[in-house]
């Protein structure tokens, strides 16, 4: 699947110390390594997103280790409270070493 796309839903503005919900979704088949190719009968090698990290102004805000039992097109939702304006950076790491990333600015007042 050549078309791996990250999407995030992040509020543009937040009040200092207020809980805000972050939603993330990345298009990825999360090939478990347990499925067989219907034509060749051979196992399709595992290829998943194994790590997700959200950093804010360079500091880790939330992370997740993922295993093959996470559904295709991984959806991750979490909440943060921020004290200053800045940039939230999201990174998904693939088994093949690729890293998919996206950044969002948040204004904290």
């Amino acid at each position: 699947m050549a078309n791996i796309k990250p999407r995030v839903k992040v509020p543009k503005k937040a009040k200092a110390g207020e809980a805000i919900v972050i939603k993330t979704l990345i298009s990825h088949p999360m090939e478990s390594g347990q499925r067989k190719d219907s034509k060749t009968g051979k196992l399709i090698p595992r290829k998943i997103i194994n790590k997700f990290v959200a950093t804010y102004n360079g500091k880790e805000a939330f992370s997740m280790d993922l295993l093959p039992a996470i559904a295709a097109n991984p959806y991750i939702e979490f909440s943060v409270k921020l004290s200053e304006s800045g940039t939230m950076r999201f990174e998904w790491t693939d088994d093949d070493g690729s890293v998919y990333d996206i950044e969002n600015k948040i204004t904290v007042a």
Binding site: M64, A69, A71, E77, V80
Partner: protein, 140 residues
């Protein structure tokens, strides 16, 4: 000796009772315990972790799950009835508004979802919740 079906059942039950053969069970019971111990450093006490999940999942490929444990630094999710029990682990930080997160998981069949929380002080807690997975009769 000719065996009737009833004899076979009796034999199987006897063998099972003697621990010689195992009746159908999750192949991964040991693996589940091992995973919990590795993460928590022992068997945690039950309670203090909430698992949000549908009672019946319409499709095991995509089951929405939410976990919450007040004050947790990380929460690990296991699927006790999957061939491999590991699902994933959330890590919270000082920036977390609360130790709560959601994702969507794969469940091979009806089974318990287990959540183990590790607190900032190193103590651990866990919870189990059964999710029924419907196996389609059709559905193309």
């Amino acid at each position: 000796m000719q065996m009737t079906r009833r004899d076979l059942f009796a034999l199987a039950a006897g063998l099972a009772a003697a621990g010689l053969i195992s009746l159908p069970a999750d192949a991964s019971t040991d693996a589940v315990e091992a995973a919990i111990k590795e993460f928590a450093g022992g068997m945690p006490e039950t309670g203090g972790v909430d698992i949000g999940a549908p009672e019946i999942a319409e499709n095991g490929n995509t089951v929405p799950i939410e976990v919450f444990a007040d004050g947790a630094a990380s929460i690990m999710i296991l699927a006790a009835g999957n061939p491999n029990p590991g699902v994933g682990t959330f890590h919270f930080t000082e920036m977390s508004a609360e130790s709560r997160a959601s994702t969507r998981i794969r469940l091979a069949k009806t089974q318990d979802v287990v959540a183990v929380a590790k607190m900032a002080d190193g103590s651990t807690k866990m919870a189990r919740r059964e999710v029924k997975v419907t196996i389609g009769g059709c559905g193309g």
